[in-house]
Symmetry: C2
Subunit: 233 residues, 2 copies
DNA sequence: ACACCTAAAAAGTCAGACTTTTATGTCACA
DNA sequence: TGTGACATAAAAGTCTGACTTTTTAGGTGT
């Protein structure tokens, strides 16, 4: 799954990135490039490239005569897919999953409304197909197969919105859905009501019913929030 | 304004980044590190660091024996503040401003609803202050002063939501508001209706009226969309 | 107590040599 | 004519060492 040989600097990042986002180095901690290079057994050049990447993510700031300072979490580029992955892999995964789900609940309804206006015939067909796939795999503990269709469905809606900012959240949504299936409470089959909502959403988009699509997505989102006890009952 | 001496690699990025996001190198274009280093008159080490950063933004991909390939726009990390700034400075600024405004219209209402539940007393006071500041500067062509309050207002709402993903959109909103004032049609004083909505929003948040805050923000967002002719009248 | 000056620490820069991967072209053989 | 193995070279990747620049901390002198 994870490519092994995509460069030394990337391997350093795989180790150092999660350590920082995981709070192993509290904000204000000072690292020195040379020391890090020794620790990871790479040359200074490689370590410098890794630090540059961390710097571009606003995880650290590098200053002369001081060193590489870890920045507080409020500074981090939390929309960077890499940072999201690191954080989801770390200890505060639950909190991260919550904030991302709230983001979804804001974005996806509007995206669905736009999709109803802009979706191509091909996208509509794809949506119907994925929705039917969800129906077919919604019973009998086929969670993995269900997840594939669920991800494809939501990704298609975001792409069909025609807004690139929405489209680029496809990966985030995929991570959230996968996280929910794999790590959180999901011992049982998906909620049949949610499955029905997806089928109806596919219909609404196909028929160009923007208001309906938005409302249905809002219902789906509320279900997701309720699962995480974010929404009051 | 723009720091001049924050490293050679940063200066290279200031030049190369906008060139790429501006479409000067179409997707698939191949650059060579050595050639770039010569062109910008820096050492290979410095150029390599710059390329690493571009790579982490998914603007380019570096492959052995091939070179540094410019990736298609769908791959770009469009949530990276740096990338956003580069694109807003470039030719497709209008398109960018539209997609960001649509994003705002999705996120801010939900953020405002959360802010009504979670805002601290200090944040409520700040909101009221900024809203009054907007009122005071809404007439007589004081656009710059108005903008400052407008930005502070929206940033405070996003922060008060208590969701870090929302909070981190403060910079984006600031860019959009500034862009609207500075480059787009804004010869006249702000819409009085919009100003009133902000005052009422501050009240709603203070009173913990989540539904009201959300609805008011939706109205504000609709105004912004209409300004860009995104919303049907 | 304050201003100024010096020294050192760490990042930043550069140049050159070497290694590794891999696209491509070539040549023999079927 | 096609195909597969092999050689070649191009470009990124890595390492090392020397040097420069900035900036902090500490000392010195009035």
């Amino acid at each position: 799954m994870t490519a092994q040989a995509r460069g030394l600097h990337a391997r350093v990042l795989d180790s150092l990135g999660p350590a920082i986002t995981g709070g192993e180095y509290p904000p204000g901690s000072v690292l020195r490039t040379d020391e890090l290079a020794q620790r990871f057994e790479v040359s200074r050049s490689v370590m410098r490239e890794a630090v540059r990447v961390l710097e571009s993510m606003h995880l650290v700031a590098s200053r002369r005569r001081v060193g590489v300072t870890v920045l507080p979490a409020e500074e981090w580029n939390v929309y960077d897919p890499q940072v999201i992955r690191w954080r989801l892999a770390g200890a505060d995964r639950p909190r991260q999953l919550r904030s991302l789900t709230v983001l979804r609940s804001a974005v996806e309804p509007v995206a669905a409304g736009l999709a109803a206006r802009h979706a191509t015939a091909g996208q509509c067909a794809a949506l119907t197909e994925y929705a039917l796939g969800m129906v077919a795999t919604s019973r009998g503990r086929q969670l993995e197969a269900y997840l594939v269709h669920d991800i494809a469905f939501h990704r298609t809606v975001l792409n069909a919105s025609g807004n690139e900012m929405f489209a680029r959240l496809g990966d985030v949504v995929a991570e959230v859905l996968a996280g929910r299936t794999h790590h959180d409470v999901m011992f049982e089959d998906p909620d049949p009501a949610a499955v029905t909502l997806h089928v109806r959403l596919a219909e609404a988009v196909r028929e160009g019913d923007a208001a309906g699509a938005e409302a249905l997505t809002r219902e789906i989102a509320e279900g997701a929030l309720r699962e995480l006890d974010i929404l009051a009952p």
